[in-house]
């Protein structure tokens, strides 16, 4: 059993959480102009990363809030937990407050989901 650190509730069993897929997938700007192929790719195509992967989780049994998590898909090590709406703390993505890893868990921002 993995322990995930919910930004609101602290460490809880992974069974209390639900997976929300890859994080930071931007909603297309002009959906009317998209072909069916592009739309299908936006809906269904996701990275299948070996290593650090930014993903969304919701603490469904607890506070019912979403957050982002950077997880190593090989070792399952949780490398960062950071609020919805902030950028990925991976190389190339900017950390929410220039901090890494997530011993500095941030309180979640309201409403924003990305």
């Amino acid at each position: 059993m993995l322990l995930f650190s919910c930004p609101n509730c602290g460490p809880r069993d992974e069974t209390e959480f639900h997976y929300g897929g890859q994080a930071h997938v931007p909603y297309p700007k002009d959906t009317d102009a998209m072909t069916d192929k592009e739309w299908a790719e936006f809906l269904f195509y996701r990275d299948n990363t070996r290593g650090d992967f930014a993903e969304r989780w919701v603490h469904s049994t607890g506070c019912r809030q979403w957050f982002n998590m950077l997880r190593d898909t090989v070792s399952y090590e949780v490398k960062a937990v950071y609020p919805m709406g902030s950028t990925s703390p991976t190389p190339g993505g900017q950390s929410p407050a220039g901090q890494f890893p997530a011993s500095t868990v941030q309180t979640q921002q309201k409403g924003a989901q990305s």
């Binding site: 809880r12 069993d13 049994t61 607890g62 506070c63 809030q65 979640q108 309201k110």
Partner: protein, 213 residues
């Protein structure tokens, strides 16, 4: 004579069945006395009001006034709201709270006062009294019974008196509230009351027999 709303209400109150009423006899029979004792009972029909509001907003402040302060973080309980039975406001999320008060007609009109405080602003005040029922598990072995199937750290060091947390007991989502060192309130949704009731009874059973040394 025509039936008034009050008469209809009184009649309906009489018709209500709490979700675990069929287990009350078993709860009584299978509660365990003595040094390894543990008791289980259902407390029916407590008033529960679901509140969703931004606690930092003006609306949040008005609601906080009604309930004697909203809890600020996970685990905290605001209140109490009345004398006698344990009442309070449980933290369910940063903007979601569960107000637990005395049974209908036995205390202040919580729902009415909360709706008045919300005043139609952004947020929600919903009567959830029929959503969950209330179990009380108490006694020297209560903690041991819970620890069989609740993955939370229930050690008194981590789970202190007065704390309430959303969790799972026997894979069923519940809210668990520690009233005293050996007295817990468990709030399962009504449809899970039978399962959770029987599940806890099963967990209590070993304490009824003499310990093998």
């Amino acid at each position: 004579m025509a039936e008034t709303a009050e008469m209809a209400n009184a009649r309906l109150q009489g018709l209500r069945r709490s979700p675990a009423v069929h287990l009350w006899e078993k709860f009584e029979q299978e509660s365990v006395a003595g040094s390894l004792g543990v008791t289980l009972r259902e407390i029916p029909f407590l008033t529960m009001v679901g509140v969703r509001v931004d606690p930092a907003s003006e609306t949040g402040a008005r609601i906080a006034e009604v309930v004697g302060g909203l809890p600020e973080r996970c685990g905290e309980v605001g209140g109490p709201l009345a004398e006698g039975e344990a009442t309070g406001t449980l933290w369910l999320g940063p903007e979601e709270f569960l107000v637990v008060g005395p049974a209908h007609g036995k205390g202040p009109d919580l729902l009415g006062r909360l709706l008045e405080a919300l005043a139609g602003d952004a947020g929600q005040v919903v009567d959830l009294s029929a959503n969950r029922t209330t179990f009380e598990l108490a006694g020297h072995s209560a903690l041991a019974v819970l620890e069989k199937s609740c993955a939370l750290d229930l050690h008194p060091r981590a789970f202190t008196v007065g704390t309430a947390l959303g969790t799972e007991i026997g894979s069923i989502p519940v809210v668990l509230w520690k009233l005293e060192a050996e007295r817990f309130r468990i709030f399962p949704r009504a449809s899970f009351a039978d399962f959770v009731g029987r599940w806890l009874l099963d967990g209590m059973r070993e304490f009824a027999s003499v310990e093998v040394r």
